[in-house]
């Protein structure tokens, strides 16, 4: 009896699965043959939409969506309708790679915006490159993504021709942070911590290079596990080291309890990069007062060019804030839209057969006034806009303190 019912169950499940697959493929057929007068261009969006970093990820998704909708409304590219395909990467490289395959499989998809994490990008770059699919990240700051693994020795080599970004690199961010701490905040003794992820470790390393170069002293260094929430043992060591500040290469989920436990025992600020610059950092940490973070670009609230973006974002009624990368994401998406526009204009108002390769060619020539300022890419695919800003927590908010374009 038991065996028979199992058999029936298996049979039913298999039939169900087959039917579902059949449905799926039929739907796909309909989509690609539905060309006609307006052609659809899909822009893939990859970001962590769930999990610890979802605040940043949802801001990315919404901002990309806003750019696509704006292009449709203003008919930026006549005859082309833009759609976004958001996929959740859970901040995990393996999931990011699967998403990259899904993007490649969608024939209408001509560009990818994202991801948030440098580590995820590392796993997406190669498949996208093999498919000549343009990728623009609004948030990756890992220097090796555009300049190769040997960038520190001056041997810069672009590993993937399909990869672009509107965020500047950790080499620039770390240097900016070190300059700010040493020259503006006048802090000379720093304890260095990173979370062993590509982003955190890279940022901490570039901070250290510039900071010691300026004459600052690293009085101690340690690494943490980003899933830990108890850092009291490290804090005890920091207290003994007489550091005047802690520089943390990592993200806010571990940064928030680290900062709080730090303040519980020594009254010195925690400084981090754009991975810490989030409203959630303050919400999860009741003792964030005085903490410092750097982020790419100028605060969009202070930019004349971003007024329309902020107003449109509000009108669109998204549930989540645009967060740190909203402006950069809008620009990244818009760069793809501009590239599509150039390709379509060259091909008598229609998409060419090899649209992906053509869009990729057009990317390096893209130039426009974006939300975060003028947008264009250099020979490595890096943004030419190296504006950085330092923020400090004051009264439960991030307040911008100092902005500068790093050379």
């Amino acid at each position: 009896m038991r065996h028979r019912s199992l058999l029936i169950l298996t049979a039913v499940l298999t039939t169900g699965a087959l039917t579902l697959t059949a449905c799926g493929s039929r739907e796909d057929d309909k989509k690609s043959s539905g060309g006609g007068e307006t052609q659809t261009v899909v822009i893939g969006v990859d970001a962590p939409l769930t999990g610890d970093l979802s605040a940043l990820g949802l801001g990315i998704k919404n901002s990309a969506d806003l750019a696509a909708k704006t292009a449709n409304k203003e008919k930026t590219v006549p005859g082309i309708k833009f759609e976004i395909q958001p996929l959740d990467d859970q901040a995990q490289p393996s999931v990011g790679q699967q998403n990259a395959q899904k993007f490649i499989g969608n024939k209408d998809l001509l560009g990818v915006v994202g991801p948030l994490n440098s580590g995820v990008s590392q796993s997406m770059q190669k498949p996208l490159n093999d498919a000549s699919l343009t990728q623009v990240s609004p948030a990756n700051t890992g220097t090796e993504l555009t300049q190769g693994n040997d960038w520190k020795t001056g041997d810069k080599k672009r590993p993937y021709k399909t990869y672009f970004r509107t965020a500047t690199t950790d080499a620039i961010q770390g240097a900016f942070a070190a300059n700010y701490l040493f020259k503006t905040a006048k802090i000379k003794d720093v304890y260095l911590i990173d979370d062993q992820k590509p982003y955190g470790a890279g940022l901490a390393a570039s901070f250290k290079t510039t900071f010691t170069g300026l004459g600052g002293k690293i009085v101690g260094a340690d690494h943490i596990n980003p899933d830990d929430r108890d850092f009291n043992s490290i804090v005890t060591k920091i207290k003994g080291s007489k550091a005047k500040a802690v520089y943390y290469g990592g993200e806010y989920p571990a940064g928030a309890p680290l900062s709080q436990q730090l303040k519980d025992s020594v009254k010195i600020p925690l400084m981090g990069g754009d991975g810490m610059y989030s409203a959630d950092f303050i919400e999860l940490n009741k003792k964030a007062q005085g903490d410092i973070a750097t982020s790419v670009g100028k605060p969009v609230e202070e930019l004349e060019s971003a007024k329309k973006f902020i107003a449109d974002y509000k009108t669109a009624g998204y549930k989540d804030a645009y967060e740190a990368y909203g402006g950069g994401t809008y620009d990244a998406t818009w760069a793809i839209i501009e590239a599509v526009k150039a390709v379509v204009a060259e091909n008598d108002g229609k998409l060419p057969e090899d649209a992906r390769a053509k869009v990729l060619d057009a990317m390096s020539k893209v130039q426009f006034e974006g939300v975060t300022g003028p947008v264009s890419f250099d020979e490595y695919g890096d943004t030419t806009n190296t504006m950085m800003t330092a923020y400090q927590v004051d009264g439960g908010k991030w307040v911008s303190k100092f902005s500068e374009a790093v050379k």
């Binding site: 769930t50 999990g51 610890d52 970093l53 979802s54 605040a55 911590i193 062993q196 260094a221 340690d222 690494h223 943490i224 596990n225 899933d227 830990d228 929430r229 108890d230 850092f231 009291n232 043992s233 490290i234 005890t236 060591k237 207290k239 003994g240 989920p253 928030a256 309890p257 709080q260 519980d264 025992s265 959630d280 919400e283 999860l284 940490n285 009741k286």
Partner: protein
Amino acid sequence: MNELPQQLANGLILGAMYGLIAIGYTMVYGIIQLINFAHGEIFMIGGFGALTVYLGLPSGLSLIAAIPLMIAGGVIAAVAISMAAERFAYRPLRTAPRLAPLITAIGLSLALQQAVWMWYPNATKDRSFPQFEGEAFEVFGANIQRGDLFVLVVAPLCMIALGLFVSKTRAGRGMQATSQDPDTAKLMGINTDRIIVMAFAIGAAFAAVAAVAYGLKNGQIGFRMGFIMGLKAFTAAVLGGIGNIYGAMLGGVVLGVAESLATGYMSEVPGMELFGGGAWKDVWAFALLILVLLIRPQGLLGERVADRA
């Protein structure tokens, strides 16, 4: 300043929390030889239960007054889920080979994580947890945070209560009997099904208390917090001698202090500069476990079989 007292205090606080969770592993193992890998998630659910109560309370209420209610909420949530898991996931498999309930436990652990992630409002990211305001207390050269005081007071109280329960009450003695020989215990008129449910419930209640301590200490809880804490607590239970309730607490404290000292001092040992600090503390904790098990395979207090429950 001498850091040693502070590092010991850090380890003790962390270890007391491990110990409270480890009770759940050790009691269930002691009675039905099941490693309940979903116990870390029971801990997590206890935290969310407590948070739910806190969010439902009027905002003017002081945290001190709210804590008993939060514990109650956490305990109810954790015990309910744990008892349901026992009834619907483990009991049908009681006569199955050992591996079946073990795999079920792992599956249940993932399912519970996903359930909280999906259905608890805003649980896709860490939720902030209420905390005490005010300065730390200084005891013997170590700063003890107000939130940490909670676990230092509650953990010993819980242990004393459990010890008395197991040795003095009828149900507690039934527990000991069941752990020694379930079949004979049944013949003597002990309702072993009830005893097993009770073991799950007590373990869940302790985990919920630990979750409140975790929240008060770190100011946040999240759907994934049970994984690492559960793994550490399980290690503590094995270290102390699985099946022994005092061993669980001792194992927890030893583990916590070992982690803390490894973070604080390992890098100062000559030749060990590269292997110190926060990144390596888990490696040292497990190295300690292996060492203890090599010398005493039954764990620190493992031989006291009579005290199993």
